[in-house]
Amino acid sequence: MLQTTTKPQTRTHFEMTCLRPSRDQLVWMYDRMTLIREFEERLKWLVETGAPVGAVHYYTGQEACAVGVCAALEPTDWIASTHRGHGHCIAKGVEVHRMMAELYGKVTGTNRGKGGSMHITDVSVGMLGVNPIVGMGVTHAVGAALSAKVRHTSQVAVAFFGEGAASSGAVHEAMNLAAIWKLPVVFVCENNRYSQSTPVEYAVADPEIAHRAAAYSMPGVTADGQDVIAVWAAATAAIHRARSGGGPSLIECKTYRYYGHHQGDDTRRYRTREEEEAARARDCIKRFREQVLTDGSLLLEELDAIDRKNKEKLDLAVIFAEQSPLPDPAELYTDVYVTEPQ
């Protein structure tokens, strides 16, 4: 049971209408949320002790969003991600030791050391790329959905983006295209309230991002982004709609990032201690533990064993990253073109 890190099968129609995850799904959700948390905490420690990992944007605090959505996806489905993408990668199934090796710029990394944190990609698990040009990944998810429709597969694409990207033209254009072409895509806005230091109330005319779904004739719902089961329920409905030809949907997850925009950002320049403490009091992992232990769906020993396993995974990931070889200097010149010039 505790070895279960492969994702359980799609729910039956009955399960979906009940909107209650199975026991296996609960185990998977806890496993992935704590794996993301452990990855980011370990990474933060590495950054602060001078490890050569480049620029990073911690996902800590938002774990329920990526995990809730990906719990409702199939392995063959696609996601496109943002600069704050480690959580999406792990939730979709990218291996943490290859991610860590990428951050170290090693040839064993997901991108052979040529991408770094802001470009982690693993198309073999449907992860179309972390993308730091804010908003652009959303258009790529729409393209993957177009591909699914034209090729007559039953794949669904999810576009993760932040409330900051919601102000970009790319997101508006992508939503309109998806709506007029009825594409199987789900737009997931993780509203963590701040784009760098700029609060959503200042930057977005209507800070309820879900409202804009109406302008694109698609359903828009708000989910508690600190509650993985609430996110999963909203995602399950939207993904079902997309897969059955109903077109796109928008889910806004209200969430919070615990740390700064990037590794060097001091949040005290724009957020109060009180606000941060209030957000942490609603921590998604803490709440999940309380809930499943109270209702008896999972046992304390199970949860603790998952915690231990994920800490070991990160121990091994860091060793793997540190011991892996650097790219050969000749790699500078490889893969510029897909088809080499004749």
Partner: protein
């Protein structure tokens, strides 16, 4: 059925040749789709009898929707950033999209998708994704003062913005000049597994007629072509400028100067060997480029030749571009904007002074 062993050839315009390339490739591969603004036209109005109402601004995509249907021939809203981005995502996930950006002047609306997304995906993802994306776009003006479509379109619909594309590593940029190479380069671009941008000159569309094999064929990307052999000077042309070079060469021949004309065809990756080899024989070089001069292809070619073939040169290299100004509207101004044969002739004669 063709019974002849000799490949059948028919005469087509530049635009018809591209249309034939698109059509033949779409028949071959069901994963090829084409999208852009008004590439079919009258979208959603089939119930009123309106089908294929537009066929693209230069009519290059006429008839595709009737053969391939609206699922593979997609009229888009005015959302260059959105639909080029969708094409990037689709290319990463199993399709081979061809996108039409109506005029190259509009690339500002989707420049990030081209230079940060399409161009870099394969490299920054460590080679794990292919990106079989073709972007077709119209460029240029004519500058002969005739008030036909496109000429006299002013500063935002007449540019030759290819150096800002050729500058980006990972992109292949081609500029066909004849019906023959337009078809062959378009097919090569479609079959390439990475992003290729095709710049189609507005005034070659209907003007450049020529024999084109009926069957599909490739003109290789990355090769320049010597289109007129000569011994005294090399004239390098790009797109419609190749025709200006040929006009100038004909005049120079009457004065006993044999100009060799090299049609560059691919701006990136540039075929340096063909250009260097030609200059090593003729010892003189004039490069003709409809783009503005600063950081232009003309000066890039000149710099490469100066670096690698300086010892062969009998005269300083000459580059002829449009001036460093926006494209003017008034016909009298536009006529002075676009490089002309007289400039080429004057530059060459100066080399022989």
């Amino acid at each position: 059925m063709k019974s002849s062993a000799i490949a059948a050839v028919h005469e087509l315009t530049f635009n018809q040749a591209i249309n034939e390339a698109l059509r033949q490739e779409m028949r071959r591969d069901p994963n090829i789709i084409i999208m852009g603004e008004d590439i079919a036209g009258g979208a959603g109005l089939a119930h009123l009898g309106f089908v294929d109402s537009w066929g693209g601004s230069l009519r290059t995509t006429k008839g595709l929707i009737t053969e391939f249907g609206p699922e593979r021939v997609l009229d888009t809203p005015i959302s260059e950033m959105g639909f080029v981005g969708a094409a990037v995502g689709a290319a990463m996930s199993g399709l081979r999209p061809i996108v039409e950006i109506m005029f190259v002047d509009l690339i500002g609306c989707c420049y990030d998708q081209i230079i940060n997304q399409a161009a870099k995906m394969h490299y920054m993802m460590g080679g794990q994704v292919n990106l079989p994306l073709v972007i077709r776009t119209a460029y240029g003006t004519r500058g002969d003062g005739k008030r036909t479509y496109g000429g006299g379109a002013g500063a935002q619909h007449s540019q030759t913005l290819y150096s800002v594309l050729a500058h980006i590593p990972g992109l292949k940029v081609v500029v066909p000049s004849t019906a023959y190479n337009a078809k062959g380069l378009t097919i090569s671009a479609i079959r390439d597994d990475g992003p290729v941008i095709i710049l189609e000159h507005k005034f070659l569309g209907a003007a450049a007629r020529g024999p084109v094999p009926e069957d599909a064929y490739c003109v290789p990307i990355g090769r320049a072509e010597i289109v007129r052999p000569g011994s005294d000077v090399t004239l390098c042309g790009i797109g419609r400028m190749t025709h200006v070079c040929l006009e100038a060469a004909a005049t120079l021949a009457a004065q006993d100067i044999e100009a060799e004309v090299v049609d560059v065809l691919t701006l990136s990756p540039l075929d340096e060997p063909t250009i260097l080899e030609s200059v090593s024989r003729t010892r003189r070089l004039v490069v003709l480029d409809e783009d503005t001069p600063t950081a232009s292809m003309a000066r890039d070619i000149a710099a490469r030749v100066a670096e690698k073939a300086f010892d062969y040169l009998a005269a300083p290299i000459n580059t002829i571009n449009a001036p460093d100004t926006p494209v003017p509207f008034a016909a009298v101004l536009e006529a002075h904007y676009v490089p002309r044969p007289a400039q080429v002739i004057a530059a060459v004669l100066e080399m022989f002074d």
